[in-house]
């Protein structure tokens, strides 16, 4: 009897150790995941600003934050293998993955990522605005779409038949660093010019003019949406993550939301570092958290946002 108990105890101890090790390691083998939707134990997860809160919730507050611009710069220059990178998984826009791999291939560098998930969640980037300003733009343009925003940014309200003082002030998070700002800029450029070649001088001049002359710069420390909502007089319209804008508008009567068609879609994926397997639990956890925050899953609508390498080229125009 004693021997039997000892065997049972030993089995339990070994089994417990295996379970414990598995938990500690996370889903190292990358197999299937499953489990609950609570925080995963994924280590060294880097997330872009737009999804950082969801990452924190999904990982139990162990993720690190980078702007999309900083992530892009890092991913373009570093040899990203487990031996050389502390980051094992990335949560970032799909366009950024496309742009990084395309550019690394052109440079003859090895791929940055091992596996890349399908889109775990998406949101529209939308024009949020002071409700009476959005109404005035709608009256002027027929509908507040990205072409309307691009074409009327910087115009005198009086020229649009409205009685508001000054010009149409459009807020954009810096495209150089922000995925939201870059996606909105891409959508505005496509809406105004149609499919465009960012290497053409005319395109660059148009984008430069839009950025330098017509779009006000956000105060540091706040998104354009937060600035719109809290600092009256700064912006009439601001490009914002749709899920965030809807949430703010639900609480703050100073903010309204337009839903342009075609849309500007920001898709988010989870990618593993090169030579690593995709952490599917992390992908599932982020998807769950983003959905809870108002993001969408499933098929994406038609989008004005150009391909990743085109977007990144647009970003470099901003940087000049």
């Amino acid at each position: 009897m004693k021997r039997l108990l000892a065997v049972v105890l030993a089995v339990l101890l070994v089994g417990g150790a295996v379970v414990l090790r598995s938990r500690l390691d996370g889903d190292d083998g990358g197999g299937g995941g499953g489990g609950d939707d609570g925080p995963t134990a994924a280590a060294s997860v880097s997330c872009v600003t737009e999804v950082f809160a969801a990452c924190q919730a999904a990982t139990g507050n162990v993720a690190t934050q980078q702007t999309a611009g900083a992530a892009l710069d890092r991913l373009l220059v570093e040899p990203l293998t487990p031996a050389t990178s502390a980051i094992e998984a990335w949560v970032l826009p799909r366009y950024l993955v496309q742009a990084v791999e395309a550019q690394r291939a052109r440079m003859g560098a090895p791929p940055a990522f091992g596996e890349v998930s399908d889109t775990v969640a998406w949101t529209e980037v939308v024009p949020a605005g002071v409700p009476d300003r959005l109404a005035a733009l709608a009256a002027s343009c027929g509908a507040v779409d990205w072409a309307c925003v691009a074409n009327d940014a910087g115009a005198l309200w009086a020229e649009l038949g409205a009685t508001f003082p000054g010009t149409v002030k459009v807020g954009l998070d810096p495209p150089l660093t922000s995925a939201t700002g870059l996606v909105a800029l891409g959508a505005m450029t496509t809406a105004a010019l149609g499919p465009f070649d960012p290497s053409l001088t005319d395109t660059q001049a148009w984008v430069s003019d839009l950025l330098r002359s017509q779009l006000a710069a956000a105060p540091s420390g706040q998104t354009a949406l937060a600035t719109l909502a809290t600092r009256a007089g700064t912006y009439d319209v601001a490009a914002a993550i749709g899920a965030d804008a809807v949430k703010v508008a639900a609480n703050n009567p100073r903010v309204g939301v337009a839903t342009p068609a075609p849309a500007a879609v920001l898709e988010v994926v989870v990618a593993s570092a090169a030579d690593r397997r995709l952490d599917r639990d992390l992908a599932k956890g982020v998807a769950t958290q983003l959905k809870a925050a108002g993001w969408q899953d499933g098929a994406t609508p038609a989008s004005l946002v150009p391909a990743g390498d085109v977007l990144v080229a647009l970003r470099s125009i901003q940087g000049r």
Binding site: N61, P219, G221, G233, N251, N252
Partner: protein, 619 residues
């Protein structure tokens, strides 16, 4: 929380509140920094709040500008108790004015003078963080502030008594700095608007070297002069028309000072005697100050037992058509050598905590606008309180730090000139030790303060030096004019030499000298300048004939009030400094209030240098 400050630099207000006196912070490179009670000024030395956390948890100090001390103290207390996200922390809050905090961080924080080393620094405006990092980088040091998280907001406005606002077309007609300039420079004054009884246009505006609202006003009026709303440049500042514009606005200034509360308290007092419209026509303040004033609480703090007094003439906030700036009260988690990773984590958690919607609701109670976009602007930011939640319509970009430096440098040449009589007590009690065990006397410290403050005057200012004590001239006279009022550029060295040689002597003929100094300033009154007397004394009236003291004081106060009020007044401001524990603060306050000036408390002699600098900030 309102404990006596060991290094107090407070004006003596009726409330003797924590939001009283601001601090002088001369920016070595810029020339200065700023702060005021309503906008970040007040005491640089700490008043502590919060705490109460688990002593075994990491201690995290928050250095805050004064206007949000109460609020942050409450938030620290609940943060410590609730442990959001399991964060174990012992957060405490200390009051440090915006400008003083910036200067202390830039030069190297001295715990003995500046208070506990901060993990979080929250000045009134993000501009302070930019200036700090600029100054550190100029010295080859790493930036410390970086990007802060805004906590709560309030825009700069031009506050005007409602009858005057009505006269300029409020609310239908927008009002801006250009309109103010026209009012300031017209020879007709309010007569141009059908109200000759209001006299000339008089503007209350604080010193931008001390006060955030003063700095914001300077930036806004300069943008207005250029017609721009962003990218103000050094080239813009040097345009002749910008210089002319600035001098025009400054020409209407009543006096400057370190805190907007001086204006608001004086205005409230004048309102009670129905002379508010003759004291100031407009004051550049933060929106929340308009709400406080109209609620009968001009300094924003109701002491126990104090009842608000609703003003006869409420203020209305005019949001300049050319644009304005927000004070955004950022929380900077400092990247400083003394801040550990653990403290940084707590600091970040505290940033998140104060931004929660339920905590942001609380900022509304203080008249600020929430920084969390999910919390809408609401009561008390409503039209009934003289403010407009849908304003401002245009925001101005905060200039680069080097441009702000240039602005402050130029302001020294554009501000209204001053004609100031310095009147110093050299009675026998000034020979007492400045502090127990100190080798220095009160007079020693006062002399050093005066000499140091002389550099604050511009070369075109006219300054005189008088000392008083009984039998000052050995012929029965009460005072001696050591240096007659004249251009300080020519007399600065002489004045310094005279001050250095002062000796303590006899009694304190305070009332007689206050009166005679006032009359002397009236006789030399210059309409183009700020006319003032600065009176420093360490005692009560003691002229050897106590029987007529009461009458002397009453006559003096009556005469001062007569000269300071009315359409054709010749306002000479008497700024008084109560020096040492025996000074008659009550009488000094009466003298200051009779001339719509301010009284300052230097009851701890060690504070005199700072207090004197604050006083001179009025010019």
């Amino acid at each position: 929380m309102t404990s006596r400050n060991p290094i107090s630099r407070r004006p003596i207000s009726r409330r003797m509140g924590r939001r009283a006196a601001p601090i002088l912070v001369l920016l070595a490179v810029l020339a200065a920094a700023c702060s005021s009670p309503s906008d970040g000024g007040d005491d640089a030395s700490p008043t502590t709040g919060g705490g109460g956390g688990d002593a075994s948890c990491p201690a995290v100090n928050v250095a805050t500008s004064p206007e949000k001390l109460d609020l942050l103290t409450d938030l620290a207390r609940t943060f410590n108790a609730e442990r959001p996200g399991g964060v174990c922390a012992n957060v405490s809050v200390n009051r440090v004015s915006s400008g003083a905090g910036m200067a202390a961080l830039a030069k190297g924080w001295d715990e003995g003078v500046d208070g506990p080393l901060p993990t979080i620094w929250t000045p009134a405006s993000a501009a302070w963080g930019a200036v700090l990092d600029f100054r550190l980088q100029e010295k080859g040091e790493a930036a410390m502030a970086g990007e802060g998280v805004p906590f709560m907001l309030t825009p700069l406005v031009i506050a005007m008594p409602k009858p005057m606002a009505d006269a300029v077309g409020y609310p239908a007609k927008p009002f801006g700095w250009a309109d103010l300039l026209r009012l300031a420079t017209t020879t007709d004054g309010w007569a141009a608007f059908g109200h000759p009884e209001w006299g000339p246009f008089r503007l209350g505006k604080t010193n931008p070297n001390f006060s955030t609202s003063g700095l914001s006003a300077l930036i806004a009026q300069t943008y207005a002069a250029t017609g721009k709303t962003e990218r103000l440049s050094l080239e813009d500042l040097n345009r002749p028309e910008v210089d002319t514009y600035a001098k025009g606005v400054e020409s209407a200034v009543v006096h400057y000072g370190d805190t907007t509360l001086t204006f608001l308290n004086n205005l409230a007092r004048a309102d009670r005697s129905d002379t508010a419209l003759l004291y100031a026509s407009a004051v550049a303040v933060e929106e929340k100050s308009v709400i406080d004033y109209n609620s009968g609480n001009p300094d924003g703090v109701l002491q126990p037992g104090e009842q608000p007094r609703i003003p006869r003439y409420p203020l209305v906030a005019l949001y300049p058509t050319e644009g304005t700036l927000y004070s955004d009260n950022p929380l900077f988690v400092l990247t400083a050598p003394w801040v550990s990773d653990q403290q940084r984590d707590v600091g970040t958690a505290f940033q998140d905590y104060v931004g929660r919607p339920e905590n942001q609701q609380r900022v509304l109670q203080y008249g600020f606008r929430p920084a969390n976009p999910e919390v809408p602007v609401a009561e008390p930011i409503v039209a009934a309180n003289g403010v407009d939640p849908d304003q401002p319509q245009t925001l101005l970009q905060v200039p680069e730090p080097r441009v702000m430096n240039g602005l402050l440098d130029l302001w020294d040449t554009q501000r209204k000139g001053a004609r100031v009589q310095l009147v110093l007590d050299v009675s026998g009690s000034m020979q007492e030790a400045a502090a127990p065990g100190s080798d220095e006397t009160k007079l020693d410290l006062a002399k050093r303060a005066v000499i140091s403050a002389l550099d604050q005057f511009g070369p075109s200012d006219e300054v005189g030096l008088k000392v008083f004590t009984t039998n000052a001239d050995n012929a029965g006279g009460d005072s001696i004019d050591l240096v007659p009022v004249g251009p300080i550029a020519a007399t600065r060295d002489e004045m310094r030499s005279r001050v250095e040689s002062l000796l303590p002597r006899n009694g304190t003929p305070l009332y007689l000298v206050a009166r005679s100094s006032f009359e002397q300033a009236i006789s030399g009154y210059d309409t183009t300048r700020i006319n003032a007397v600065v009176l420093l004394t360490d005692g009560v009236n003691d002229d050897g004939t106590p029987g007529d003291d009461r009458q002397q004081l009453d006559d003096t106060l009556k005469r001062m009030q007569q000269a300071s009020q009315g359409e054709n007044s010749t306002p000479v401001r008497m700024f008084t400094i109560g020096y040492g524990r025996d000074a008659d603060l009550v009488v000094l306050r009466q003298l200051a209030e009779a001339t719509n000036a301010a009284a300052y408390d230097a009851s701890d002699p060690r504070t005199i240098e700072t207090v004197f600098a604050n006083v001179i900030s009025n010019f």
